[in-house]
Symmetry: C2
Subunit: 412 residues, 2 copies
């Protein structure tokens, strides 16, 4: 989105402000669905960005919503999605959540353990239901070049590959469950097409093994995509055009194997779809020269964007991509950008090159469409909640979900 357009949003909705470009996101979704020529449906991981305006726009174009809590299931249903097109994953589902999901007839319960399977089966049976489910498997190996990786070491997610032989046949036998397939999500935020293909090849091998161990006719396979996006200035975008040549043969070979003839595949993702088309816009409140640094304080800090401040799993804080949209052509120099919080760890960027920043300028933080607002401690130090706006068909719409009561609002 151009700086001018982003400034229009600020004009209408003040700062701090999250802007989501639904037009671009929907274009990206079409592109994705064409890319693999029908081999993959798309399952959107709500956790990446659960904004209702965004979910409602995505819903008609999606095969599935993946919910990672029962409250995310309710969000998906609130968009008008039929429960049969909702999957429910998560490593610590409470009994009440499993029961509600079964009662709602969610299409795919993603089982993370044998005990979860037993709970769901018993409950479904007590209600005279047969709950469709997938088993999530946790691979032993994940290729390098993935960000957060759930394999190799101990993990709370799914059934470990080396325990499949033991657990899968037991789950397949459970009377209240209809085991329809398998699910793997083993690593995130990968920018290397060959590493993604290597990962999918490993998935295919495990899926085949899981089918052999259970003897089921597979209806669904979920490939956790791990497709990454650019966060840092020196990163490149994932070359998604390179993926089909690498990935399609893997899928085609798998689907010809016995037991897979009726299988359909879904790509599960969130970040890649929405991340690049969201911005956090923050206004500079004051300026200070301190010990060789030009500091600009902003009205958003880690309370509004934990990940951009390097506090969400990063070992070292590195600057994301920032732009001074109020003065895009200005002469650049180095700034320290900090948030409004009374703590010295509230740093947005250190030594970041920006077009000259004066008080009142609006800074855009790129790559903020996923894991932004809801992944941040927005109540910390009681600053006003950022608003969220969507951009669609040339118009901005307020999509904020925060209650606007006296303890969270300020006059404009």
């Amino acid at each position: 989105m151009t700086p001018e357009k982003l400034l229009d949003a600020v004009e209408g909705f003040s700062t701090p402000l999250f802007v989501y470009d639904l037009d671009a996101i929907l274009d990206r979704l079409s592109l994705l669905k064409k890319l693999f020529d029908g081999r993959f449906g798309v399952s959107y991981a709500i956790k990446a960005n659960p904004n209702m305006g965004l979910l409602r726009a995505l819903q008609p174009q999606l095969e599935m919503f993946d919910a990672s809590s029962i409250l995310e299931v309710r969000r998906a249903i609130a968009t008008g999605m039929k429960p049969e097109f909702i999957s429910f994953s998560g490593p610590a589902k409470r009994k009440v959540e499993i029961h509600e999901a079964v009662d709602l007839h969610v299409g795919e319960l993603i089982l993370e353990s044998l005990s979860e399977a037993e709970e769901a089966s018993a409950y479904a049976q007590s209600k005279g239901l047969l709950q469709p489910c997938l088993v999530r498997i946790n691979p032993l190996h994940v290729p390098r070049k993935f960000g957060a990786s759930m394999a190799r070491t101990a993990s709370q997610f799914g059934i470990d590959e080396e325990q499949m032989g033991d657990a899968l046949p037991q789950i397949a036998e459970l009377a209240g469950l209809n085991l329809v397939g398998f699910h793997i999500y083993s690593g995130t935020n990968c920018l290397d097409p060959e590493a993604i293909a290597e990962n999918f090849e490993n998935f295919a091998r495990i899926f085949e093994q899981a089918q052999a161990q259970t003897g089921i006719e597979v209806h669904r396979l979920v490939f956790g995509s791990g497709f990454g996006i650019q966060y840092l200035p020196d990163e490149t975008q994932l070359d998604h055009e390179a993926l089909p040549a690498l990935v399609n043969p893997i899928v085609d070979a798998l689907l010809q194997k016995p037991g897979f003839e009726k299988a359909t595949c879904n790509l599960e993702l969130g970040r890649w779809l929405v991340g690049p088309f969201g911005w956090l816009l923050t206004r500079t409140i004051s300026e200070k020269s301190s010990r060789g640094s030009e500091i600009r304080t902003c009205d958003a800090g880690f309370n509004n964007h934990l990940a951009a401040c390097g506090m969400m799993g990063s070992v070292f804080r590195r600057n994301w991509v920032f732009q001074n949209i109020s003065n895009p052509q200005g002469k650049t120099s180095a700034y320290m950008l900090v948030g409004p919080l009374c703590t010295s760890i509230d740093r947005l960027a250190v030594d970041v090159e920006l077009a000259e920043v004066t008080v009142g300028d609006v800074i855009a933080i790129e790559g903020s469409g996923a894991y932004g607002l809801t992944a941040s401690p927005s109540r910390f130090i009681s600053h006003p909640e950022p608003r969220e706006v969507t951009y669609h068909d040339g118009r901005f719409t307020d999509a904020s979900e925060t209650e606007r009561h006296p303890l969270t609002t300020l006059p404009a």
Copy 2:
């Protein structure tokens, strides 16, 4: 609080649950006020824990509330505190916040920069008011043994010590402001009494210099305490009994200097007062043996306690102090405790020794009274909001502030 008592709270309010022991906190406050024999009043930093139940209990015993946003000022007023006993600090005060603070007649506006001083002065003048204020100073040096330290390097907080000579006389001249004193908060979470005393000695030297540069009659000095608490198993508590012998001579000497005869001193703190008397209680939802680790998933993760998960400024994640309050006498072994989030970074503890943990057990996270709920991304993945309860005079009271609507609640 005993395990039995904590379990009573769970019985009444489910999990995840923050419990704040107001009786213990009020005892600690009395202790603090006696400790220095009247030399210090106490200013509670609301940011540490802004729960209204807690603030209301503290209010009658406090000299001041320190608010770090205008919404925290409103919280303080909502307790019944007179605005004259509220200070307002923060490195990025918006104009509307400064104006509201002046209109409310807050007792001490803590000025972080010359431009903030000019804004406040101009506004106060336009309303025919004289706004009392302190200048915050950012020292060049902070002793070792402090946690987050705001000195030595570039900082957004206050006026750098080396710029005082330039800025302070200008602020003292501003017609809408009444400069009544100075404020320093330069480091947090220190467990060493001698380092704290050394820090205060540096404060005293700077305060003296600031008085000389402005010629004011000092009425108020704020000492940011930096008093630390134990978070890690191998840490000790701060030996607060050792402080008076080290600190009192510094204060007494300062108050005999010209210009300081009418000065009163406040200790500003939050963590030391409330941190040790809060617990996050979380229930184990499932168990898994994975690659040599005994994993227990819990219904609270970094969505409810960012700091305990090592994601709030820590370079390395280290285990806090955990207790299995459902089985305190059980045989101990090592566990990995994880939260309910669909991300591998959601780890509460790794290789932590706990009395045998089975599904349904309640785990207490110690040291959770400060920087807990509001400093955590509680909306992440739409898990139910933890409740907050206070314990006072033998009774638990629901002090939750979350709206209980369908997207944030589950049946018990």
